[in-house]
């Protein structure tokens, strides 16, 4: 699943598959990072809780 792994091949079928996979993982990862970071920033800024 990484380019340094034995089974990795730079060919179209792999690229399509791994492209899809990393695209999905990327979105999930970025999305969650965004949410967590923004939540942290919001919290520091005093948002949330009952002073909402």
């Amino acid at each position: 699943m990484f380019p340094f792994i034995f089974e990795w091949i730079w060919d179209p079928s792999h690229m399509v598959f791994m492209g899809g996979l990393w695209y999905a993982l990327g979105i999930i990862g970025l999305g969650m990072t965004y949410c967590i970071v923004k939540a942290a920033v919001d919290t520091v800024q005093g948002k949330g809780g009952h002073d909402h």
Binding site: F6, E7, G46, H50, H52
Partner: protein
């Protein structure tokens, strides 16, 4: 889920309306102080984990084992004609590996040099006709088929490429055994991260073999376009 605002409002209202709810205490903490302690705790946790992971874990993972006695490749190398004098090929092309007693016996029927290690060898092993239970640093697991002939004869590689300058060593390094797998540490390599490899002989994992095979243009596997599995596995 878009009903969150509504819900939140409800719950907040509820909390306000219910005095004496048990979780009041948490709200007493000053936000700044709380954040400070949170960051410090995080850093402490991080530091502890790093120490355990990089120092304690490797120390626990490998257990050092003594060889039966010390051996100098350097001394022997001067007396014989190259590695293959002792580490020879059998007639069927298989590699004999670490020599058996009969080969050493030619010279070591009696003590020659007088080191304590040689005495141990002669008295405990030669005279008792007992094979030396050497621990083999480069021993591959049972699933691996390694042909010395293919590498040394066919591919004309020299011993040092994979074994390093062992022939110049004056004594045996400690043998480190992975307590989980039972492997010699030389397979994974000294570096616990497995990253900073400078010489071929520093690790002997599948990927190390595969890199070289790929370089040599061996591509008989349908699945990986590298060398087929059965080339090195049995």
């Amino acid at each position: 889920m878009s009903t969150i605002e509504e819900n939140t409002k409800d719950s907040v209202d509820a909390a306000v309306k219910e005095p004496g709810a048990p979780e009041k205490e948490s709200e007493k903490i000053e936000p700044g102080l709380a954040q400070g302690s949170i960051i410090v705790s995080f850093v402490i946790g991080l530091a502890i984990a790093l120490i355990i992971g990089w120092i304690v874990f490797p120390a626990l993972l490998y257990s050092e084992k003594e060889q039966p006695f010390d051996f100098s490749h350097e001394v022997h190398n001067d007396l014989v004609d190259g590695c293959e004098s002792c580490h020879y090929f059998r007639d069927d092309g298989t590699f004999a590996g670490v020599p058996k007693l009969w080969l050493c016996r030619d010279c070591h029927e009696e003590v020659q040099g007088g080191t304590a290690d040689e005495e141990t060898f002669v008295y405990e092993y030669v005279w008792n006709d007992r094979e030396v239970p050497w621990r083999i640093y480069s021993k591959q697991p049972d699933c691996v088929f390694f042909s010395h002939a293919a590498h040394v004869v066919k591919a004309e590689m020299d011993c040092e490429t994979c074994h390093g300058p062992i022939g110049e060593s004056d004594s045996l390094k400690p043998y480190e055994e992975n307590v989980i797998t039972g492997y010699s540490r030389d397979i994974w390599g000294k570096s616990i991260s497995g990253l900073n490899k400078k010489h071929i002989w520093e690790s002997m994992k599948m990927d190390d073999c595969a890199d070289c095979h790929k370089e040599a243009g061996m591509e008989s596997s349908v699945q990986t376009k590298k060398d087929a599995c059965f080339v090195c596995h049995k």
